[in-house]
Homo-oligomer: 272 residues x 2
Amino acid sequence: MEKMKRAERMVAITQVLMLKPNILTPLTLFAERFGTAKSTISEDLMAVKGSLLLSGQGHLETIPGAAGGVRYIPEIAKEEATQFLSKLAECLSNKERILAGGFLYMNDILFDPSVLRPLGLIFAGAFRDKKPDVVVTIETKGIPLALVTAEALGLPMVVIRSGNKVTEGSSVSINYVSGSSRRIQTMSLSRRALDPQRRVLVIDDFMKAGGTALGIKNLMSEFEANVVGIGVLVEAKITEDPKLVEGYLSLLQLRELDLHSGKMLVVPMDSL
Amino acid sequence: MEKMKRAERMVAITQVLMLKPNILTPLTLFAERFGTAKSTISEDLMAVKGSLLLSGQGHLETIPGAAGGVRYIPEIAKEEATQFLSKLAECLSNKERILAGGFLYMNDILFDPSVLRPLGLIFAGAFRDKKPDVVVTIETKGIPLALVTAEALGLPMVVIRSGNKVTEGSSVSINYVSGSSRRIQTMSLSRRALDPQRRVLVIDDFMKAGGTALGIKNLMSEFEANVVGIGVLVEAKITEDPKLVEGYLSLLQLRELDLHSGKMLVVPMDSL
């Protein structure tokens, strides 16, 4: 390869690091790839670091020493997050989203990568300090949200199955009462899906009474896991009943949903 | 903001475009943000474009004219894709992955963002020419794979539910025979989840006889959709029976899985 100029190397470095967020790349890899001295790469990195700092949308972290290197930590600027959640709340406050049974239609949001990506960054920013090892969710609608959060944190995801349909060897099942159906349900997780004593971040799309979140906490204790955080996209604040779990983070709150009057209100939380 | 130097702007432009893959950004946005002339931004973009071209891991596409702009098209280099699939096949060819009933344990792979991301780029590269409007999958295990493919293509995702548990208004259900259970099952999709006459790319994690894929095709015809491609991560080539669908792309092939002898072989396909 023809020798690259500094600006070209800086772009190439940015691309390599952004393609593998949270993963440490040794400086020697760049030095070899670009055919330059490690000290030159260090200078390139300083310049990239400075440029990214200005954006507030992710920064470089350098780890010194022989086992060190550099990694890209994806972020979302606070102002951008606030604006994004306001717009999302407005989009959800549409009476066409009211479904029979008093449910809120969110599938278009929950399955759209361009909406999910900022949500993953927001959850990651809120929970990075808790140092989770794994992001846990329950099928089905929470999966994409948990995945983007896991990626923003550089972690794997574990999906709890509803019911008993686990086909992955021995599993642990527990019963729980879901707030939306008020029925006793079962959730299961394969033994091999989660090592013991992990630090677990629970992510889900919706919380009504908190029965599912409580169920997940109980299931996690069967794996000796430590639930270090619970994040939900929307919590329902329609009744005054306290939730069955405490200390969760919700990004949006469903304040009103009335099938008859067509009244519908979702507001952003001041939680960030 | 202090005026940025060219190299700094190039890094900032790379970051902004990579954060929103496939989305067109007008040049005026950069000109305003950096306080420079549009002609300067054009020069910056030419330099960024050249630098990214060298990597083979994504390129810039510029659309001229008033409604034009620039976007980042994420890609994976062919050599990297081939190496990645070889390693993945090796990782899956582990007899510890054999589950009772002759199933292959893949959950750790299917729920790990660092494995999913390259897979999404591989599927996106294979199907971009077919110009799909939406990526469709069926719950549960195919969801993360479909999501990363959708993001790499800049498309939304639609998730078909197993059974009849759709709570999203009126829905369409069909019966199908899944190859793995040989039982009649049901899949459903909410009417509002998919507009008529879309160009659909179907993505799933595993194909045995192809019964699920055939079911999805039949369900899609109820939405007047045009299935422009079917991609699966692993197809089973254990029996000689032809599949129930044709023209699908599989990345890996399960050649052998024997519970008694512990023989297990997954190989990459030469499909790329």
